[in-house]
Amino acid sequence: MINLQHFLFLAAIVFSLGIYTVVTRRNALGILLGTELVLNAAALNMIAFGHYGNKIVEGSVYALFVIVLAAAEAAVALAIGLMIFRNFNTIDASSVDEMRG
């Protein structure tokens, strides 16, 4: 029997691996991959709570909001990442420490 805790624990594992990716990557795009995992875990939690609380429609609405925010974040962050790559010729997050244009 699959219950709420299974889904929450799975989402916790995905969240933790996302945080690990954010912390350990030096590549700025790798950090963004980690944030996608974190946001996905949040959306999965919303759906799980909605299903087991018998409010699947409300859970779906919040999961949709999370997905839209992730899409907006990815578009802007990747544009910034490409600009950093063109200006600094590197994507190393720790070497981008100047505010010149």
Binding site: V14, I19, G30, E36, F65, L78
Partner: protein, 171 residues
């Protein structure tokens, strides 16, 4: 609740966790970007398993069709100079890996020690029309706000990329 449900859950969970582990621990960022596909597909399958058919399909459309392709473009466009050195961890794995295990254990203890509401018998029904009505009735203001946010993010991304192309042409 069919008897096949635990089997499907186990398979999808294994797919998701394997893909996420590859993302977190792969040395090459291209492998990480490609294994993002497995993570997104697995989570979409779990959503459909939970009865959220519309969100599962939207997850595949937006993430696999849009965001994943965007990431692959970005990774492959910068991969020429982002050699293996840049994919190396910046914080020592000796510190980060125990912290990861500790975080999972802490969250797991929290999840299993909390008394959640009892699982009721839920009915599986199409959710698309109900989501549409809810979005346009109770959640109308957040819906419009998030539309404006998405438009602003889109215009901002295009504006940044476009100015860069102009400068490249001028120089």
């Amino acid at each position: 609740m069919s008897p096949i449900e635990p089997l499907v859950f186990t398979g999808l969970a294994a797919l998701t966790i394997t893909a996420c582990t590859l993302i977190a621990f792969s040395k090459n960022l291209v492998y990480s970007a490609f294994s993002l596909l497995g993570a997104f597909a697995g989570i979409a399958g779990l959503m459909i398993l939970l009865g959220a058919d519309f969100v599962g399909v939207i997850q595949i459309l937006v993430y696999v069709g849009g965001i994943l392709v965007l990431y692959l473009f970005a990774v492959l466009m910068t991969a020429g100079i982002g050699d293996v050195k840049l994919s190396n961890p910046v914080i020592s794995v000796k510190i980060a890996a125990p912290a990861l295990v500790l975080l999972v254990l802490l969250l797991g203890k929290l999840i299993y020690s909390t008394h959640w509401f009892a699982a009721e018998t839920t009915t599986f029904a199409p959710t698309t029309s109900a989501i549409g009505e809810t979005l346009l009735k109770e959640y109308l203001l957040p819906f419009e706000l998030i539309s404006i946010l998405l438009l602003a993010a889109l215009v901002g991304a295009v504006a940044m990329a476009r100015r860069e192309v102009k400068e490249g042409k001028g120089s």
